[in-house]
Amino acid sequence: MSALQPSDLDRPALARGRSAAADTDLKSVSAALRRAEFGDRLRSLALAAPLLVLLALSFGIPIVLLLSRAVYDPTIAEALPKTTAALADWNGQGQPGDAALAALAADLSDNQAKGTAYELAKSINARLPGARSQVLKTVRKLENAGGQPPLDIMKSVPFWTAPGTWPAIASGTHRLTSFYLLSALDLRWNADGGIERVPPEQAIFLQVFMRTFFVAAAVTLATLLLGFPLAYLISSVPKGLAAILIVAVLLPFWTSILVRTAAWTVLLQKFGLVNDLLLWLGVGSDRLDLMYSRMGLIIAMTHIQLPFTLLPIYSVMRTIQPSQMKAAYSLGARPFTAFRRVYLPQVFPGVMAGCLLTFILCLGYYITPALIGGASDQLISNFIANYVNVELNWEMAAALSFILLVFTLALFGIFARILGFDRLKLV
């Protein structure tokens, strides 16, 4: 076998040991082998090609384009071409001078003429909170100038000479920007060119990320605690009963996530079934606020995620032969020792895979927190959706998505590092 490895054949030392005829033979064999394998590879690639093209067009390219908006934002540079030129050699210290003010006035008038002044005001506002009204006010003043020089009008608005205004505009004229990514982590550039935390009253995203990770971790833990014993039960009962149990587990899985979430809103209401039951059992004296609460959110998400955690664990448990535990007992291991040293290490890859799957899916939950969670239970996906659909600030949405993606990939990398990709049994 190894004699046919091309790398061996290419080594002259080896070739010298053989007769010239044998050498030629082997060379032609390896060439034929390579030709045959090339054809096979081409065929398998051709079979996969339609899917690859579809994935690239519908998945890969849109994601790259959207994520690139987190760092590439030409809106201000394109809306303010004259200002961009005037600020090209400003050192960022103090005020940029009258030339820049005049250029900005001209750009603002141009935008008003093109009808894009409102868009521009919004773009600047995204970087400089409160700028929208100032920009629109200035635009109106410029329009109704009545012979007053534009430069005077600009100077009459204190906003344009306030500290902090021009650094923000100057950073906006760069097409490549780190502004959104920093904002997504509650960071910003300070006047000295360093990175600082935003003031606490503006900080929001780190807290949302923490909340998202907390909820995901809590749901993962809950599904593991519920799913592990159930998976063990299913793997140890006779086949017929196991099939029924599997269907019972999968039944909610086959229902739309929207329907399941709606069902939970019915159950969890203040005057819903769960509260009725708790009251009837005498567990609490008062009705609980399960709806619009973190607790209710975790309950509903746990229900939806249970099959995702359970199935990988079950699929691994199924492969462990009963004789493994019998052997451990006969060798003197008590049930707990046998479980810890023989059973658990073997199901561990399945447990990790199930938890990883649930954790990552939880990071992207959107409908359930929107419907069941309260105002303080909105996860990062709800913010991303808000930026995409309501605020129309796709740059911010892209930045948040990017940070989420990086966190998720890092997590996946850590898992894979602990386990090795080949041991991660997802199915």
């Binding site: 493994q324 019998k326 007992y329 006969s330 060798l331 003197g332 023989v342």
Partner: protein, 383 residues
Amino acid sequence: MSAGQAALSASPALAPSPGFVEFNEVEKSYDGRTFAVTRMNLTVARGEFLTLLGPSGSGKTTTLNMLAGFERPTHGTITLEGQAVDRLPPYQRNIGMVFQNYALFPHMSVADNVGFPLSVRQMSKADIAARVGRALDMVRLKQFSDRRPTQLSGGQQQRVALARALVFEPRLVLMDEPLGALDKKLREHMQLEIKQIHTMLGVTIVYVTHDQSEALTMSDRVAVFNNGAIAQLGSPDDLYNTPQSSLVASFIGENNTLEGVVDRVSGQECRVRLNGGGEITALAIGVAQGSACHVAVRPERLSLSASANGGNSLPATVDGRIYLGDHLRLLARLANDQVLTVKVGPEATMANGETVTVSCAPNDCRAFPADAGTGGAIPKQGK
């Protein structure tokens, strides 16, 4: 400690050597109606190699599992060294077990697998290493101690399982068809290896198999199982030469079976009128006059000659010859079209179609009652 055990240790010389393992009226039922094991009485002596032999579903594995502690008898008691073990969980019985599928722990190295029973007994690391080394030496796998079980061949894996079951010096080792997954050549080699280890260590082994040649090769005694009960218990040559039922006769080794009716019984012998013509004299094994019977005779106990020469003789024609190197196997067709297998020396000259006489001594023919049938079945008893 039980009273019996205390009495034993007080006066070992006076006590009659009791069974090392004793099954006393043991029954096992899974559904309350049918019995996997019925009224089992079985004694295993210390240091013995006892094989439970039988077709699948005959109760041999259930018997082994009850001894190991994986299943509890529904009736009766099992004692081990005089101590009742029925309520003892498997991990307190100190019994080593080898499984058909090896049951090695795939996430542990070979050395950790073998060291597992020692580490759960909280032995020191140095002791474990020394004992694991010796055990792996015994099965000649020392150089593989760092490998994973999946990197070994089937035979090597079973040797690791063997080392693991022996390393903690259990008082008893159970083997549940341990060679079933190996090919023929390797199986025969492993049979000798297990036998050698048994002789060397003097450990008591209870071995389950459905392969009769394996049972004959390895065992001191063999218990032939059928329908949840022991059909016959004895040494390999007992079972081969003096089977007590038609089932044992046909299950152990090769046999020709002739059907007939008992004409008369005189002492140990009986005269049998064969179905389809001819009469022979055979040893009577529980047959009654006038009843249908099966006469079993081994192929090597039959001989062929040109003419009758005393004893039992039946006319036949040679219907085929199979050359097997050390011997020749001739197929002899009787008048009633039944074909007997005859084992003769390779120098025999009989040709196909030749008319011959098949003969054998009455002592080599054993007549069993036919009503017990080929199954020799012990009927299952409900309660």
